[in-house]
Symmetry: C2
Subunit: 423 residues, 2 copies
């Protein structure tokens, strides 16, 4: 099998995989939600039962990664142990128990001529997932796709190839034991990069691609894909502290938005301080004291001698690290103008007790998520009550912000008549 795969041209390989996946998806789409949930529980059980095999495969990846000189952080992302694998299985069980959007009625209308029109949610079809080194994505993404009635074609990072194969094999065995065709969840059987290119071009075969990983991966996928892509490239999230901000809230929120975890896409990257906010020096002091480097414009630098000068690039930087750019703005209009010029459309926040200013900010900031008096680190499917997320999207069509099961569905129109001809 591997030999055939390796000699096959990438387009043919992807077309074959896609056809298998699409065929499996039609079976999946006709199953009841309860049956799909049972299949996911069976997959979770299989992951637990196959712990030894999966951890052994992972040990192989770790050994290869060490030999290849991967950094400690990369090895940590790659590493599985009994606890982590158990958490992966638990997450699959949790997705199984989410309420499915499939079958939901979006709208219903009866026309004067008696036609009854309904829009009903259905699965999208075959979802391509392209991801990097975290092997948990294999199970997470598979579970979300399956629960929403979609088939998935997964292509993981080369560092995790042994782990991904073991997880996928176990997962698929669980699904099959519950009557789901194994091809509903397929892992790309080759790490040939040309096969990724073929996935990106497979319009009409793959319905949507979700890249999960760093900016380099997402940028390549967005640049090359002919298939619709659900993703965000940057999370350049702003927090604007308005003159009417509650100082205690502002200080706690700013530290949390930046420092709770600096490496996630919802972390604050630029702080905008209103010139009339009274506790600006104390606020930047809190962030500096928490171990963050600050890079400020001229007015910001006067707030604390530890603030370094910012360059033009800083206003468009996603640091994903303990670094923050900070600018002083004259008022809400100055904040809105800065955000319009530099936001990546992910999550932007205002801190204020002035309801009118808050509503203006909510209306006028054109990002997927706009928040008032909350930490931008809440930009997450779990925190939004979606149960999980396949990713966060900043595109303007289909689904935006944290995307979970609903974003993995589309709809069709059902029209019920009694013999109506069109005049």
């Amino acid at each position: 099998m591997d030999i055939a795969v390796n000699t096959m041209n990438p387009e043919t390989l992807v077309a074959d995989l896609a056809r298998n996946g699409r065929r499996a998806q039609t079976v999946l789409a006709r199953m009841s939600d309860a049956d799909r949930a049972d299949a996911l529980h069976a997959a979770a059980s299989a992951l637990r039962a196959d712990e030894a095999t999966i951890l052994e495969a992972n040990a192989g990846d770790i050994a290869a990664g060490e030999a290849a000189g991967l950094t400690g952080a990369m090895l940590d992302r790659l590493r599985l142990d009994a606890d982590r694998l158990s958490a992966i299985a638990d997450a699959v069980d949790a997705v199984a128990d989410l309420t499915t959007p499939v079958g939901q009625m979006i709208s219903r209308d009866e026309r004067p001529n008696g036609l009854v029109l309904e829009r009903v949610r259905i699965p999208i079809g075959l979802i391509g997932i392209i991801y990097e080194s975290r092997p948990n994505v294999t199970a997470d993404a598979a579970a979300l796709c399956l629960k929403s009635g979609n088939a998935a074609l997964l292509r993981g990072g080369s560092e995790a190839v042994r782990s991904n194969r073991a997880i996928e094999a176990s997962f698929a065995r669980g699904l099959e034991s519950a009557g789901v065709p194994a091809a509903a969840i397929q892992l790309m059987p080759t790490q040939d990069r040309a096969a990724v290119g073929a996935m990106l071009k497979a319009a009409g075969l793959i319905d949507m691609i979700v890249p999960r990983g760093g900016k380099g991966l997402v940028a390549r996928v967005q640049a090359d894909a002919r298939v619709p892509v659900l993703a965000h490239l940057d999370g350049i999230c702003h927090t604007y502290v308005h003159s009417a901000a509650d100082p205690a809230k502002a200080r706690a929120l700013a530290v949390n938005a930046k420092m709770r975890r600096t490496g996630i896409c919802g972390a604050m990257e630029t702080l905008l301080l209103d010139a009339a906010f009274s506790e600006a020096s104390a606020l930047v002091g809190d962030i500096l004291d928490a171990g963050c480097e600050l890079r400020g414009d001229e007015r910001a630098q006067k707030l604390d001698p530890r603030i370094k000068p910012a360059t033009d690039e800083d206003w468009d930087a996603e640091y994903l690290d303990a670094i923050l750019s900070v600018a002083v703005v004259d008022d809400i209009d100055g904040a809105l103008a800065h955000i319009a010029a530099h936001s990546s459309g992910h999550t932007d926040v205002i801190i204020t007790e002035d309801v009118d200013v808050a509503e203006q900010f909510l209306n006028e900031v054109d990002s997927a998520i706009v928040m008032v008096n909350a930490s931008s680190q809440f930009a997450d499917g779990g925190e939004f009550g979606l149960g999980a997320e396949i990713g966060i999207a900043t595109g303007r069509l289909h689904a935006r912000g944290p995307v979970a099961l609903e974003g993995l569905t589309t709809y069709k129109w059902l029209v019920r008549g009694t013999g109506q001809t069109r005049p």
Copy 2:
């Protein structure tokens, strides 16, 4: 201006137009719906007031078209008169009075930590419309975009260039008199085809492209676009007459679905007759008597000597003419298999009095619109109660079937907190 435009490179031109349009859109997005409606009424009034100018421009297009040897059908599509212009203005007034989806709340949730999450509909941004010879599209598409808070960049066919410029100038004057920036609706100032190519590549500048025209245009747009496209390529619509169909309904529906208008995308192109349907001969006789050519498989040919043999190509043909392919199938499974193999995902219909079979068909046919006991010619935004349509979409993401104002919106998440930090 025209000289500068003609010497400008297409990418720069499109980028300039897009920036102007996006700037105008931010003004539009902040206007109230009542103000946007007023602006559209002003545009409709301007079209009426400028009747002489617009008809004169149209006469110029007609004269040029005649000189260029356009067919009678093409000249008819191009031709305006007082009645047709009045109908165009009336349609703009009608769109002005539709209920706007902008600002609608899609969902609302209060999290245990007190965060209040809402998803609210917002305009998409800048919509590109690429169309052929009908000058009414200039006003129709502009009205739908404007009512949903979007800016539009229009690129019409060369045959209609004088008419389109006159309509756009009049429309924009009307908008401006009501406080909308003229750049909210822009007509491409050159017919250079390279500028169309630049529109298709303008990802990040143009948010969505809607092609309006024949299959050649749509195919080119879909093949070349890097911007998301809302469209359908084919309308290969099936009607399956089940064994439990009411014969009188079936005969009336079949004739209507094919012959009411043969040139629209919702016209039936393939008739599937259940082998056990009792009045199959009478039904095909009705269609033949109505002046339609029938091309059948072997079993269908036995129903009437006038039926010609079908070739393999007939099952994938969109005739848009008084021609119909007809096949006899054994049962619902045969019909579903034929549709799965040959449908373009636009509109497929079953005629039956058996509720269970009808529901099976509704569930298992994977098209944008699935109908029971109704004519596929109802596949239309007006007939669906949407008031108008920007087009019919068969893609799987964003919006499907007849797309009107709601399909021209997206959403953002609004999160209102009281100082919540993420644990």
